[in-house]
């Protein structure tokens, strides 16, 4: 059997179980899946949702009751929930690269599950768990244990945790199954587990679920701070908060359950105590606790009263027990005889509970249960009835609540608490997701939601306050109720006591008074009853003798004799008119009444004439006990107040308390002692007497109801006079009794069943609870204060943040500005200590450029001191200069050398000053060091340059922009004869020789003012008037803006050179002329003879003259070539450049040569001309000359084969090649090819008449065109000469 503890906690176990899996689902579903894992996470989430829901349904089944339909629903959900778990495992293993069966595997698995149904529903359950649950749990566990934590932050242990959790879960949920009729479910099942371990398997499953959820949380939900290497607070806070909530929730749920439990017990106990209180020990003593009791009026009365009360109060079983011998036997009870729970009086209680025995010993009221006995499982309460004389417990009154009903009430209370826990869990998760959501927003949106914590605090604070207020109020009200019940019990106790004493002492005493006397005189009656009237609650005391008909007159006369002369027996007709009663067997006239005054009219009234009274009279006479009438309206009463009349029979010579087995013989009946009780008055008086009416929680009023079996309760009286209308509303009576707020106390009296109902004073129990208001107030203030302080902290943080941001920005911009200033200073700014190292406190980054070492090296001499990089020869200079400045308190300027990290010497310029603080103590040196190496170099260069200019053999003159001389070098002075002083400030035109035209000067100025160099020659005049030739180069000097500031003229005296040139030209021209003229005469002379102009010549003559002519021609060509070469060499050759088509040139030359080629050697001359060649600038005649040379050469060295001239488009040039199939050129001879007078072969080719200048001239012509010419050859295989002419290059 499941223990009481676990039985009670199963709802909470299911709650936690469900919440864990739902959270598992939510965590997996809600977050982005880790990129490192390819597991099919969503399947696991679905399992979490479905199975979590299933467990909650289990919880509801446990709490609120189960049904077969609901069982089916849960079974199906469970089975379905396992499918995604299996799929997770299957697909997960697949993702991990393990070969797994396809999805067809579900067919056998589901079929296997279905097989379980052969053993019924629990068999199906077991089947599902075996086939799906076990498989799924195991696979999921293995998947997790195999999944390596690839993400850097994913802790290995969380994967292990979830892995082991699922592995164990597979066993706990898949192997431990509901008991079913097949192996192994018939052996290994939930019950077996419970028997062995003592706790239900669901606890183990819930623990697995919690572990799995925790593992999932740490895989997914953690916030890992990479910078700090720790988890953010949420990572731990959430599991911690949930754990705290669930533990606190466990406590709260149990507390609420216990409160509900206790309330039920208290109520039951209270009712039993109240019943016990109102039972007369006299009656009990009359019981025999045997079957005979069924006819015993005491038994019957008690039983009837119990039934009536039980019905009215919804107590199904009020029973009683007594000890007889070694047994507990049952006495009167409210249970109908037909009920299986009914026991005849005297029935032995077979399985009494120990508490029952205990109660008989101690006599204390008790509650017990839920405990099972032969009648079922109940929660029972008991309270003893004692014999006031002996103090012994003569009866134990008991009442039961069915355990199921009892448990249901408790469980409902727990469920309510569970919901509140769920709300707290939701609030935690909601808060977290709100905060998490905010973290994902942009900074601006986050700023808008900056105060979300405040609102959350307010919400949580209000919820907490409301809860606190509710619980405090609940506690307080329960306390008030307890006080109220105490007071009400005391109050009703007074009333009960008043009735008991009226019955036992007052009425009983009167009865005994009559019983003990043969004849009671009126005066005697007055003497006996008179004092009691003044102290008692009884309205009137009466003596009602039984007067047989035959004694009527005699009786009346007897009364007359006692001074009541008007006495006559009467009755009232329907109209209330007194009439003489008809003839009867017995009359029951009121013979005496006290108080007499005001009641005179009642004397003689035949009480038996009225049916209600008569029925009570008869019952009283029959059972021999005091018996009350139904409520009656007194004949003489005003206001129609209800009263009862209680009759106590008095028998002739029969002792009153003789026993129950008296054969009531009406003949022996002497009469009735009777009291009239106005119940309303009585209640009022009693309450007034008890003095608690005014107490804060005291009863507002007391209502008296009469209860009858199978009838609605009847209102009789109220302690409040203005409440009389209540009797009209029967429903209200029912409500009054059923209302648990009211206190109901039974009053078994005079053979009737009454209930005293006390209402709490309006606004007492449910009055506002000061402490809860106080706590509510405190709670709101605390919430407000917390929210406010949070708000101000957040807004302060925001302000500080903004301020920090602003300051940071400011600082940054300042730093930037300062940094910009410092870095823009053309030097390293420093602050150093005046020590031998020049220890740097600060030095700007420029030092890195200057020294090649990083700044950090120098700060505090970390790597090297500044002193260490000063060039050794300059150390002393630097030190001396600075110390000198310090002593004079002046700034200092030094130029010295340092050694750059590259080892090179750098010149630096340093300017600084010593800083003194306070009392004139030297604090540090501030200054700036800049690199002046370039300047030093420039200075050096300038010095060299100026020396060069000074010593230059050329004249150098520098003028300003207007042409005024600013500088002239010594050569100028030497050449012109002007002194420097005379020249400076003058215009160079003082040198003008006067031969140059104005146009010439204008062109000069245009050239140099346009920024170009002008070159040219002047004929100038010296100071002494002597003329001289100058070659000048004049160029403008520009400043860095490109503006011309000066002109520099570099001039050379070329007078001598000019003279020489002229001589040379004259010489060349003369030589040319002098050579050609005789040649012309020779040639013409030979020609005239040779061509027959001068007459016939012989063939021999012709042959030798031909020889002479060839050599004359050759001499002429040689002279031409020499002169050409000379002109080209000296630059005197003039070119005529036009855009020409190279192909047309080639064709022309080809036509010219074709004849010669064919005529001389029978060679082929081929042309391979490129198409679409651009026209390019060249001198047609010169290029013809080149081509002619090349082709002539080719012919010269080729004996057979062909000559091919090719033209093509090259790289920005037109390329021409002349290829022959001749003897070729040795490779080592190629470089010599274009030299002067180069004849590579000797002998035979001399006859060809080459001058040896052709290629040299060709080279010069091609190069003049900025082209290039070269030869390619393989000896013996011919030669190719190529040249190209650039496109678009023009030489002016």
């Amino acid at each position: 059997m499941i223990s009481v503890f676990w039985q009670a906690q199963m709802d909470y176990v299911f709650f936690v179980y469900g919440i864990a899996f739902l959270l598992l689902g939510a965590v997996i579903w809600g977050v982005s899946k880790p990129s490192w894992s390819r597991l099919p996470w969503n399947y696991l989430a679905w399992f979490g949702f479905l199975h979590g829901a299933n467990e909650w349904f289990d919880m509801l089944a446990v709490s609120l009751g189960d049904s077969p339909d609901f069982k089916w629903v849960r079974l199906i959900i469970m089975a379905v929930s396992f499918l995604p778990l299996v799929e997770f495992g299957r697909a997960g293993l697949k993702a991990q690269g393990i070969s797994v069966p396809g999805q067809w595997i579900y067919i056998p698995l589901v079929a296997l599950s279905g097989c379980g149904y052969l053993a019924g529903m629990s068999g199906l359950n077991a089947g599902c768990r075996y086939a799906l649950g076990f498989t799924g749990g195991l696979l999921a566990g293995i998947v997790f244990l195999r999944e390596p934590p690839r993400a850097e932050a994913s802790p290995r242990w969380s994967l292990r945790l979830i892995g082991w959790a699922f592995l164990i879960y597979g066993f706990a949920a898949g192997l431990i199954v509901p008991k079913a009729g097949f192996f192994p479910a018939n052996i290994l099942n939930n019950d077996a587990f419970l028997n062995i371990t003592g706790f239900p398997i669901q606890v183990a499953r819930a623990l697995c679920a919690v572990s799995a959820a925790l593992g999932a949380w740490f895989i997914f939900g953690y916030k890992y701070d990479k910078d700090k290497g720790t988890y953010e607070w949420q990572s731990w806070f959430v599991p911690f908060a949930l754990a705290v909530t669930l533990v606190a929730g466990f406590w709260v749920v149990n507390w609420r359950g216990q409160v509900a439990d206790q309330e039920q017990r208290d109520r039951l106990s209270s009712q039993v105590i109240d019943i016990a209180r109102t039972i007369s020990s006299n009656r009990v003593n009359m019981l025999s606790f045997s079957d005979e009791d069924k006819h015993n009026p005491s038994y019957v009365r008690l039983r009837n009263q119990m039934v009536a009360y039980g019905q009215a109060m919804g107590l199904r079983s009020i029973y009683s027990m007594a000890v007889r011998g070694d047994h507990i036997v049952f006495g009167p009870e409210s249970i109908p005889e037909s009920s299986p729970l009914a026991s005849a009086p005297g029935t032995i209680y077979q399985k009494p509970r120990p508490e029952d025995w205990e109660a008989f010993k101690t006599g204390k009221p008790y509650t017990v249960g839920p405990v099972a006995d032969e009648y079922g499982t109940f929660v029972s309460a008991g309270a003893p009835v004692r014999d006031p004389h002996t103090g012994k417990i003569i009866l134990m009154i008991g009442a039961d609540i069915d355990a199921t009903i009892f448990q249901t009430t408790v469980v409902r209370a727990r469920i309510m608490a569970l919901f509140s826990i769920l709300i707290v869990v939701c609030i935690i998760l909601f808060t977290l997701s709100i905060l998490g959501w905010r973290n994902q927003l942009s900074k601006e949106q986050r700023n808008k939601l900056r105060y979300i914590e405040v609102w959350l605090t307010v919400v949580i604070g209000i919820i907490a306050t409301v809860n606190a207020v509710y619980f405090i109020r609940d506690e307080e009200q329960r306390y008030r109720k307890a006080v109220f019940i105490q007071l009400a019990r005391a109050q009703t106790g007074d009333i009960v006591q008043a009735f008991v004493s009226m019955r036992d002492y007052e009425l009983g005493g009167l009865a005994r008074f009559f019983d003990g006397s043969e004849q009671v005189e009126f005066r005697e009656f007055q003497a006996f009853a008179g004092p009691q009237v003044r102290t008692s609650l009884v309205r009137a005391w009466e003596w009602i003798p039984a007067v047989p008909a035959e004694m009527r007159t005699e009786f009346e006369e007897g009364v007359h004799r006692q001074g009541l002369s008007d006495f006559t027996i009467f009755e009232k007709n329907a109209d209330g008119v007194n009439i003489v009663p008809p003839e009867r067997l017995f009359y029951y006239p009121v013979q005496y009444i006290e108080p007499f005054a005001g009641n005179e009219k009642i004397l003689g009234y035949d009480v038996g004439s009225e049916p209600l009274r008569r029925s009570a009279l008869e019952e009283s006479a029959r059972v021999g006990f005091a018996t009350a009438t139904e409520p009656v309206t007194l004949t003489h009463e005003m206001g129609g107040q209800k009263a009862i009349v209680v009759f106590h029979p008095v028998f002739k010579h029969v002792p009153l308390d003789f026993g129950y087995d008296v054969d009531i013989d009406t003949n022996s009946l002497q009469g009735f002692a009777a009291v009239v009780v106005n119940l309303g008055d009585m209640l009022k008086k009693t309450i007034f007497d008890s003095g608690v009416r005014t107490a804060l929680l005291g009863p507002a009023d007391v209502n008296l109801y009469q209860l009858k079996k199978d009838d609605t309760p009847l209102w009789i009286a109220s302690s409040k006079t203005d409440d009389d209308q209540r009797h009209a509303d029967k429903n209200k009576a029912l409500l009054d009794l059923a209302d648990t707020r009211n206190y109901v106390s039974p009053l078994f009296m005079f053979g009737k069943t009454y209930a005293l109902v006390i209402h709490p004073k309006p606004g007492s129990i449910d009055a506002p609870v000061a402490s809860s208001i106080f706590f509510g107030f405190i709670g709101i203030i605390l919430t407000g204060a917390l929210a406010y302080s949070l708000f101000s902290a957040l807004s302060r943080a925001a302000k500080v943040e903004a301020l920090v941001a602003e300051k940071t920005e400011e600082l940054k911009s300042k730093e930037l500005q300062l940094g910009a200033i410092v870095s823009n200073v053309p030097g390293a700014i420093y602050r150093c200590v005046n020590d031998v190292h020049w220890t740097m406190e600060f030095i700007s980054s420029e030092i890195e450029n200057i020294s090649g070492y990083p700044v950090s090296d120098f700060i505090k001499n970390k790597v090297r001191s500044y002193a260490s990089i000063i060039y050794p020869d300059d150390v002393t200079l630097v030190d001396r200069t600075i110390q000198d400045a310090i002593s004079k308190e002046e700034s200092y300027i030094i130029e010295y050398r340092i050694v750059h990290s590259s080892g090179k010497i750098r010149w630096v310029f340093e300017k600084g000053q010593p800083i003194f603080i306070g009392d004139g103590k030297l604090a540090w040196l501030d200054g700036v060091i800049s690199d002046v190496s370039e300047r030093r170099k420039s200075e050096e260069q300038l010095r060299h340059l100026s020396r060069a200019v000074e010593q230059s053999p050329a004249v150098v003159v520098i003028t300003d922009r207007d042409g005024k001389i600013e500088y002239a070098n010594p050569k100028f002075v030497q050449l012109t004869g002007y002194t420097l002083r005379e020249a400076v400030g003058q215009n160079p035109r003082i040198l003008k020789g006067g031969t140059e035209s104005a146009e010439f000067y204008k062109q000069l100025w245009n050239t140099i003012l346009a920024g170009n160099e002008w070159r040219g020659e002047f004929l100038n005049k010296k100071k002494n008037g002597e003329l001289y030739w100058e070659s000048a180069s004049i160029s403008p000097l520009k400043n860095n803006r490109g503006e011309i500031t000066h002109f520099v003229a570099v001039k050379e005296d070329i007078t001598e050179r000019k003279k020489l040139e002229r001589i040379k030209d004259d010489f060349t021209s003369t030589v040319s002329h002098e050579l050609r003229t005789p040649l012309a005469a020779m040639k013409e002379g030979i020609g005239i003879v040779l061509d027959g102009t001068a007459g016939e010549i012989s063939p021999e003559q012709k042959e030798f003259l031909g020889l002479a002519k060839r050599n004359v021609d050759r001499l002429g060509r040689l002279i031409n070539d020499v002169l050409d070469f000379q002109k080209l060499d000296s630059g005197a050759m003039t070119f005529k450049i036009r855009d020409e088509d190279i192909n047309s040139v080639i064709r022309d030359v080809g036509q010219m040569m074709m004849l010669a080629v064919a005529k001389q050697k029978g060679l082929d001359l081929n042309f391979n001309l490129g198409e679409n060649l651009p026209r390019i600038p060249f001198d047609r005649d010169k290029i013809i000359q080149v081509l002619t040379n090349l082709i002539n050469n080719a012919i010269k060295f080729t004996d057979k084969g062909s000559i091919t001239v090719t033209s093509s488009l090259g790289d920005n040039a037109v390329e021409v090649s002349v290829r022959d199939t001749g003897i070729g050129i040795k490779e080592e001879d190629l470089p010599k090819l274009f030299g002067k007078f180069t004849q590579l072969t000797s002998g035979s080719d001399r006859k060809t008449g080459g001058t040896g200048l052709g290629l040299a001239i060709s080279k010069q012509i091609v190069e003049w065109h900025k082209g290039k010419i070269w030869a390619e050859s393989k000896f013996g295989e011919g030669t190719t000469i190529r040249f190209f002419l650039p496109i678009g290059e023009r030489r002016t």
């Binding site: 021209s1069 040319s1072 002329h1073 002098e1074 050579l1075 050609r1076 003229t1077 005789p1078 040649l1079 012309a1080 005469a1081 020779m1082 040639k1083 013409e1084 002379g1085 020609g1087 005239i1088 061509d1091 102009t1093 001068a1094 004359v1112 002429g1116 031409n1120 002169l1123 050409d1124 002109k1127 003039t1134």
Partner: protein, 120 residues
């Protein structure tokens, strides 16, 4: 009637062979040996063409040509410069107003062609 060519050259050898060839070709040749004589003869004989060496004693060939070309009576006489110089002859032709030039040593056919071209 044979056309008259005034051939001016101070080199008698050259003069002899050229005169021989011109005469053989059917021209009447009048020889001058210096610039002055050339100018005098040009005025006197009114030649159809002047074949003028540039390098002449007394007055240079260039000057002779310039004077001929600036003389109203003589300027229509075609002048062929006949020289051993290789200086830029086109320039010289242009400057002096001559009609053509031929350099020594000369190609007799070329000479004849040029003469023919000018006077037929």
């Amino acid at each position: 009637m044979a056309k008259k060519i005034l051939f001016v050259d101070d080199e008698s050898d050259v003069s002899a062979v050229v005169t021989f060839r011109l005469k053989k070709a059917g021209y009447e040749v009048i020889n001058a040996v210096n610039g002055q004589e050339a100018l005098d003869l040009a005025g006197k004989v009114n030649p159809d063409l002047i074949l003028l060496d540039l390098r002449l004693p007394i007055i240079s060939g260039e000057e002779v040509c310039e004077r001929v070309k600036s003389d109203e009576r003589l300027k229509n006489i075609p002048v062929i410069l006949f020289t051993a110089s290789v200086d830029n002859m086109e320039d010289k032709v242009k400057r002096t107003g001559a009609d053509d030039f031929i350099t020594k040593p000369f190609d007799p056919e070329q000479l004849m062609q040029k003469i023919k071209k000018l006077i037929g």
